[in-house]
Symmetry: C2
């Protein structure tokens, strides 16, 4: 394996494959972050696609964390590439083919609706950024508009957009609300009762299990808690150092088991 | 050329090459929209890279319209991939290598600063979305916070971020303000005196030359007016139909010349 872009991309692919093999029977979904592949250019993107395909072959739902979003015609192109099919000479082809993707709401409805159109055709879904997990998310998202923070206005809009493509009880159009702002999770849960909430920020970013109850509805459903670095880089944590670098996949499996226990314990309290 | 993803990507590359050959002596910069390539998956991304490289070989500045933006660690990866270099075994490699990219501000400072760090290392720049050109941009961007629309708050922040990486008179950190909201352009021009404004929406989206004066400073500088479909798909417009489909590159050249005259006329009024 060369020390170049394709060598690095191949190494990441092998790494991912072993992690998926170690955890696919324990989790419902994986959320690859496309930026981590995009930084290696085309070679990285190939590994992103291989990772999506492999995860799906193992029965996992794939949430592409791509945070795309643009004006209508451009959002339509992103939707085609990530969720839909492109038409070439009467035949149809798929570009990236995630099951769900994350999208950015800053451009408003006409930047979102083309994604929803493709979701309907494909039985796929979205998670729209509402309140993000990062420290400075409040700079704009927390600003008050008619005495309510921007994230509530966005959340209300997500609930409306969600009505356009309902499943049985929940919508295919979900929201992203960071684990790091539990009081916000509580408010948004109530504002968006039929919306699945993708909750990043558990673990490495500091979100704690006991804070996450409010992201769920009383039926115990309605949220999907995500841990990224806490799982895929578990072997780097003091807690799992006994696994060593070569035991990284086993460390990840243990981290998934521990996360599950942690969430369960919070529920039984 | 097969009727598949690689055939379509090759056709787009040939199309782009002829357009660049026809217009590179007339314009300072091109702004490829990555979504239009991303919809063809990996093959499309390869054409995006080839287009960037060819445009730069012709002396053009390349503005990648990628609208990326995420939490800090992820924005750092996007910045590495699009503007910087990734380190592999002590050697450095470039992924996409645009000169400027567009970014989305919804996540606040810690989603933006990693891009600025890489810009400083590479002498490159950004255009941060402030007020976008699409019809529903006002849904969130126009909402009043302390009696001023969100886009003004974002604009003020862009001017602050801009101070972190100044050129001679203007900052390397620019703003996107759509041509379709000229009254907003005027306000933001005053709020961000040292900020280059990228102005999409001229032509196909309805922005008119006489409305664009306010996007410039009194020195005649400070804005870059973008026409996308109006140039690259000029042959489809009634005005240029005499060129026919095979004369598309000549139609594009004429559309550039006409756009230049249109802007000049507006200035001399």
């Amino acid at each position: 394996m060369g020390e170049n872009l394709s060598g690095a991309a191949e190494a990441i692919w092998q790494y991912n494959k072993c992690i998926i093999d170690a955890i696919y029977d324990l989790v419902p979904a994986v959320k690859p972050q496309i930026a981590m592949y995009e930084q290696f250019g085309i070679e990285g993107m190939k590994t992103y696609v291989k990772t999506l395909e492999y995860a799906k072959s193992k029965g996992l739902i794939v949430i592409g964390d791509v945070k795309r979003g643009d004006i209508g015609s451009t959002s339509a192109a992103y939707a085609t590439g990530h969720l839909g099919k492109v038409n070439i000479g009467g035949k149809q082809f798929r570009g990236f083919d995630e099951d769900f993707i994350t999208v950015n709401p800053y451009l408003g409805s006409d930047g979102i609706l083309p994604f929803i159109d493709v979701c309907k055709q494909e039985n796929k879904g979205l998670f729209i950024l509402v309140k993000t997990s990062n420290p400075s998310s409040g700079e704009f998202q927390d600003q008050l508009i008619n005495n309510r923070p921007l994230y509530e206005h966005v959340g209300k809009k997500v609930a409306e957009w969600g009505e356009l493509f309902m499943g049985h009880e929940y919508s295919y159009i979900g929201a992203v609300v960071g684990a790091t702002y539990p009081e916000v999770g509580k408010v948004l849960r109530e504002l968006m009762p039929k919306t699945f909430i993708l909750v990043p920020g558990y673990g490495a970013q500091g979100g704690k299990a006991e804070d996450l109850k409010h992201y769920f509805n009383d039926d115990g459903l309605g949220a999907i808690v995500n841990s990224s670095r806490g799982i895929i880089a578990a072997y780097k944590l003091p807690k799992y150092e006994a696994y060593g670098e070569t035991g990284y996949a086993d460390a990840s499996r243990q981290a998934v088991l521990d996360m599950r226990e942690d969430l369960k314990k919070a529920w039984s309290r």
